[in-house]
């Protein structure tokens, strides 16, 4: 497990950090953070733990204010704490 995990994290570091990349590859890599993060976040809001596609109200209603807060305030700590607080509160309501 350690070896195969290491492989996918290490290999591109070495191969790509040592050569000049074509412009289009650079553009593509520039979009990877947005794309990867979005692909991690959306399924959390719309899939349950067993992998079924359903709305996750507790996650959704906590995610929206965090999204707006992060947009306006740009604070990582604040967003995490606010999200946990709202999620916790929603646990009593929903």
């Amino acid at each position: 497990m350690a070896i195969v995990t290491f492989f996918s994290r290490f290999l591109p570091m070495v191969l790509l950090s040592r050569r000049a990349l074509p412009e289009k590859v650079k553009w593509g890599l520039e979009y990877i953070p947005v794309a990867v993060l979005s692909a991690i976040v959306f399924p959390i809001l719309f899939f349950d733990r067993k992998g079924a596609l359903t709305l996750q109200p507790q996650f959704l209603f906590a995610a929206l204010p965090v999204f707006i807060f992060a947009w306006k305030v740009k604070s990582i700590w604040g967003s995490v704490v606010l999200g946990m607080f709202i999620f916790w509160g929603l646990g009593f309501l929903l």
Binding site: M13, V14, G28, P33, S38, A39, G83
Partner: protein
């Protein structure tokens, strides 16, 4: 006194620590339940250091499945790091091999996201990345061992803790949005990830959605630049 990239990185890891501790504890609890000793849970967290595949491994171990399927699953679950590692490598052009080895070994979804929220901080500053990643790794190992030892005493589902990492990811996603095109790509990637997760079993949806979205982004940009060039030439 210069700046301390190491300490700066360690501080930037704080939200990750908040997320890793409860998830690490959850892992420790499950590992214990699957029959692993606290030392084994800790060792796995030290060597493998990959949340979702460790959870899968523990699940498979408790079902009595042997090592080979676990290793294959781990490989595919963590292939998404190929993309992240490629992106980070752009900022570490001049680093020696041993540095890249260490930094690469500790790359996770969370450390990648925090690092990319301020790319200027990692530009040829591997020590900042070290501070960030070593701190996160310690939280993960500490949580795992703590969970394996004291598991039943800790409520790792309470106090909004299940939302610690989702909250972190949402904020880091927002911080990545720097133009209207990023907003569109976020929506495209989100919808594609839902579609692929629904369509394909396993963790493929992240790689598939991210690659396709990034490809769409490049195609749009190519077309736009192409237009501008032809306008210029006319």
């Amino acid at each position: 006194m210069g700046s301390h990239p190491w300490r700066e990185g360690a501080k930037a890891a704080a939200p990750i620590v908040l997320g890793y501790l409860p998830v690490g504890v959850a892992f420790g609890v499950l590992a214990r339940r699957a029959g692993l000793a606290p030392s084994e849970a800790g060792l796995m967290s030290f060597l493998v250091y990959a949340g979702s595949s460790q959870f899968i491994a523990v699940e498979l171990i408790s079902e009595g499945i042997t090592w080979f399927p676990i290793v294959v699953t781990t490989f595919f679950v963590n292939l998404r790091h190929l993309l992240m590692s490629s992106t980070v490598s752009l900022y570490l052009k001049k680093e020696p091999l041993r540095i890249l080895t260490l930094v690469g070994a500790q790359l996770t979804d969370e450390s990648f996201a925090v690092a990319m929220s301020q790319p200027s901080k990692i530009q040829n500053r591997s020590r900042y990345l070290f501070g960030l990643q070593v701190t996160s790794h310690c939280a993960w190992i500490g949580g795992s061992v703590g969970g394996a030892v004291f598991g039943s005493l800790i409520d790792h589902e309470g106090y909004g803790l299940p939302f610690a990492l989702p909250g972190l990811f949402i904020c880091l996603l927002v911080l990545q949005i720097k133009s209207l095109r990023h907003v569109w790509l976020m929506i495209v990637a989100g919808l594609l990830s839902l579609f692929f997760k629904w369509l394909v079993p396993g963790n493929w949806y992240i790689v598939m959605a991210a690659l396709l979205t990034s490809g769409i982004g490049v195609a749009l940009r190519t077309r736009k630049t192409g237009h501008r060039e032809s306008e210029g030439s006319v």
